[in-house]
Subunit: 138 residues, 2 copies
């Protein structure tokens, strides 16, 4: 049997600091060049989604989170204009808001009002779901 073709698999991270600001990158590349986006990227073969989330956070922002909590799975075929990519999103909290831009990120920022910012992809929806989860779990 030939290997099935399935959507690409990615991760995104919603990291809150102790003032409920969200860690964002400014996208250096298309699509959504210049917009804010959640740190994240493709999952490597041989890597768990949790390991991919930690790796992407480290590479893009130098942030090393503690516990990761699953927010949801975002698989609308239209969410990425480059092709069908399914994203597994995680929530994390950090005490001190330090971060350094790397990799695909032009710059890193802690955004106080992510609902008002121009965000790439379906990241508004992911952030809204993360805020709801944060409220439930505290």
């Amino acid at each position: 049997m030939p290997a099935p073709k399935t959507p690409l698999l990615a991760v995104d991270c919603v990291v809150f600091d102790n003032e409920s600001r969200v860690l964002m990158i400014r996208r250096k590349n298309a699509p959504f060049k210049g917009a804010y986006a959640l740190p994240g990227g493709f999952v490597d073969i041989g890597e768990t989604v949790e390991a991919a989330a930690r790796r992407e956070l480290r590479e893009e922002t130098a942030v090393r989170p503690g516990k990761l909590t699953l927010i949801g799975v975002y698989s609308d075929p239209r969410r990425d204009p480059r092709g069908h990519t399914c994203s597994v999103a995680f929530l994390a909290k950090v005490k001190r808001a330090t971060a350094t831009a790397g990799d695909d990120a032009a710059s890193v920022a802690w955004v106080a009002n992510p609902r008002r910012a121009k965000l790439a992809f379906d990241h508004h929806k992911i952030v809204a779901d993360a805020l709801r989860l944060l409220k439930q779990r505290g």
Copy 2:
């Protein structure tokens, strides 16, 4: 940029009837031929994970569930001996336990004690997580 290579994407469904029995199929093919497994399969490009879960349930068991609740994402590279496949697992409840075998399923059963059954892949872990979620949510 060439398309990235990522793990294959699949779905699995834990469907409970009103006596907390779990809908299982007997696998007709390797790996784990003859073992019980959760209904599920690969996600098609252009299809959401929720749509894939409903399609696989329909094709394999003729069950049409109502609401789907996310249980978790299972991405250990060793969970499928054929290669790295990440599975998104959903919980559903049905009132009447009717089902008909189709497709990859040799037969369909409502299993009263899934913890004691021989299950394929990491389906013991998925069922344990589903039972925990069912207890929390009622």
